[in-house]
């Protein structure tokens, strides 16, 4: 290896830099950055009989206005927002409550609770989907019998099979699986709050609720914001749970369709509709924009507004 002649002799070509950074950067750029950018470009083209032609924003216009496409697109997008809303309203409050309880001073077995509650988070979404599909199955009847035993039997229904309840049920399954993440992250933040601050408020006569509301909550807001953005990205990228439980058609009648399953069907085709790389790329581009907007909002507004609470 000879250093390049163009460089100053005192400053040889930084081969060590190429050695350290090269391999990782190469793989990252080739298999992540380039495909993403290429997808954005591809969404502006239309492929027909192997001929690709530039069509500008036509694919996007088709997606949001064309009769055959727009209904499926808006349905998936709406469902995805519902899916996200349920996570925000259920997963994060339960995670917060569990974290607060876990961090109670001198709590015995807190390590054991923490480990066990986090367990479902470790398993594959696919496995969890199947597990709940069995548990909620009217054929097996475990959930039905359980509800009867606590006197709520008449409320049992084949939730996963009904258009009105399938999406909500799937969202709850996902919440059940991932509640460990907000719990763990909020718990970590609570542990890092200096004792002096809490002690000072107790000396000033605050009860434990006031201490929580006025002292601890503002301090864990950044963590809650971070959990929210993680949930947002994960939800708008979700695919496995729906695919495992309901298949690519996201039935019944597309009522559980999310952007992820819509993307999959658009790209690979289903039933009579042919798969299309450029339409798939257009859906992926829209998902990219949605996630980007979410992340930007987080970085510019939420992050900035809560900065003042940090030490």
């Amino acid at each position: 290896m000879t250093p390049s002649n163009q460089h100053d002799e005192k400053k040889p070509f930084p081969w060590h830099l190429v050695f350290f950074l090269g391999p990782g950067l190469l793989i990252y750029v080739v298999f992540s950055v380039y495909p993403l950018l290429d997808t954005l470009v591809l969404s502006l083209f239309n492929e027909q009989q192997g001929q690709s032609s530039f069509v500008g924003l036509q694919n996007f216009i088709t997606l949001v206005t064309d009769e055959t496409w727009s209904q499926a697109f808006w349905n998936a997008l709406g469902n995805n927002f519902k899916f996200f809303a349920i996570h925000m309203l259920v997963q994060n409050p339960i995670g917060l409550l569990l974290a607060v309880l876990l961090s109670s001073p001198k709590l015995r077995l807190s390590g054991t609770y923490r480990t066990l509650i986090f367990m479902p988070t470790m398993l594959s979404v696919v496995i969890i989907g199947f597990v709940w599909q069995l548990l909620l199955s009217p054929i097996w009847g475990i959930s039905e019998n359980f509800l009867y035993s606590i006197g709520l039997g008449q409320y049992f229904d084949a939730w996963l099979g009904k258009e009105s309840s399938a999406l909500i049920t799937l969202a709850f399954i996902s919440v059940w699986q991932f509640v460990g993440i907000p719990m763990m992250l909020i718990y970590a933040t609570l542990l890092n709050i200096p004792d002096d601050i809490v002690d000072a408020s107790v000396v000033d006569g605050a009860n434990s609720f006031q201490t929580f509301w006025h002292i601890k909550l503002p301090l864990i807001l950044p963590t809650i914001a971070m959990v929210s953005i993680l949930t947002f990205v994960a939800n708008f990228n979700a695919f496995e749970l729906i695919y495992a439980v309901k298949g690519a058609l996201a039935g019944p009648d597309f009522s559980t369709d999310l952007m992820g399953t819509f993307f999959y069907r658009t790209f690979f085709g289903f039933q009579l509709q042919q798969g299309s790389a450029s339409m798939g790329a257009a859906v992926a581009t829209l998902m990219f924009l949605i996630i980007l907007v979410g992340v930007m909002l987080f970085l510019f507004f939420i992050q900035r507004r809560i900065q003042r609470f940090q030490f």
Binding site: F19, G24, F31, L98, L101, R108, G111, L116, W140, F263
Partner: protein, 287 residues
């Protein structure tokens, strides 16, 4: 908010010690978290009749059977699927750690043109999911003739894992005292030796955290195995279970056993490494 009210010592109610309430709630949630998994695992060892008659009973000498497991091993290649998952996960995590540490070192230690841009490029990857590039990744793999190979999965998973690895490891490299590397440079030790003999050993604790965070999504992924390597020979365990359950959905013994075979190894590994994982999560490694 109603739930938080339990923290207010109420004078009207009979005073229950606060710790009892706390334990009751945590215990209740622990049961909710574990119950579904336990039900599936215990029923995998029971006869079909017992599964339906007494789903909550433990298997006894009458109802115990391994027929489900026999069916699973007979009808599908679970050994191969697990092996594939293991190979992909170990190779990808190993390379993420090595290449991630090298890149993190280069980006934090050396000043050069484009440093900021590359740091930003990696940071973007933490938030933007790699699967949005699937359309191009697939055509890339077709062109490279890598479809239905484990290599394709390893390459994609390295690209997927690197951003977080570079971020966490860079934070860690910054905490290493400058004197250490400067002393080595004064003794004219080469840059390569400084990294491999001085820095890399120091990064071990952070690398353990990165390893756990990188490993879980790779092992559990369905998307890329489904799209890049759906062939029988390259099927990973998650895809294998998904296909198997889809195919034998009415054979309860087999389905429960297949799920159990997928769950139990992960739970054993989790119990071994949970300390490491939870320390990683709670040490502020992910901010």
């Amino acid at each position: 908010m109603k739930l938080l009210n339990r923290f207010i010592p109420s004078s009207g109610m009979r005073q229950v010690p606060k710790s009892v309430t706390v334990h009751a709630v945590l215990l209740a949630y622990t049961v909710i978290a574990l119950f579904p998994i336990i039900v599936v695992v215990i029923n995998a060892f029971k006869e079909r009749r017992a599964i339906f008659r007494d789903p909550l009973d433990l298997p006894d000498s009458d109802s115990f059977t391994l027929v489900g497991f026999q069916q699973v091993l007979l009808r599908s290649d679970f050994g191969l699927y697990s092996w594939n998952s293991l190979v992909v996960t170990i190779l990808a995590v190993g390379l993420v750690l090595l290449l991630g540490a090298m890149a993190a070192w280069a980006l934090t230690e050396y000043k050069f043109k484009g440093n900021l841009l590359i740091t930003f490029l990696f940071a973007m990857g933490i938030m933007i999911p790699i699967r949005l590039g699937t359309v191009s990744i697939l055509s890339l793999m077709v062109n490279l003739d890598l479809v239905n190979t484990l290599t394709a999965l390893v390459l994609v998973y390295i690209a997927q894992g690197l951003p977080l690895a570079v971020y966490i490891l860079s934070e860690f490299v910054r905490t290493i005292p400058k004197e250490l590397t400067e002393a080595a440079r004064c003794d004219s030790v080469s840059e390569y030796k400084i990294f491999f003999c001085v820095i890399l050993p120091l990064l071990k604790p952070a690398m353990a955290t990165v390893a756990v965070f990188t490993m879980i999504p790779i092992w559990n992924d369905l998307w890329f195995p489904l799209i890049l390597a759906p062939g029988e020979e390259t099927r990973t365990i998650t895809l294998g279970v998904q296909q198997f359950v889809g195919q034998y959905v009415t054979d309860w013994n087999s389905v429960l056993s297949a799920l159990t075979l997928a769950i139990v190894p992960v739970l054993i590994l989790y119990t071994i490494f949970s300390r490491q994982l939870i320390r990683g999560l709670t040490s502020g490694a992910v901010k």
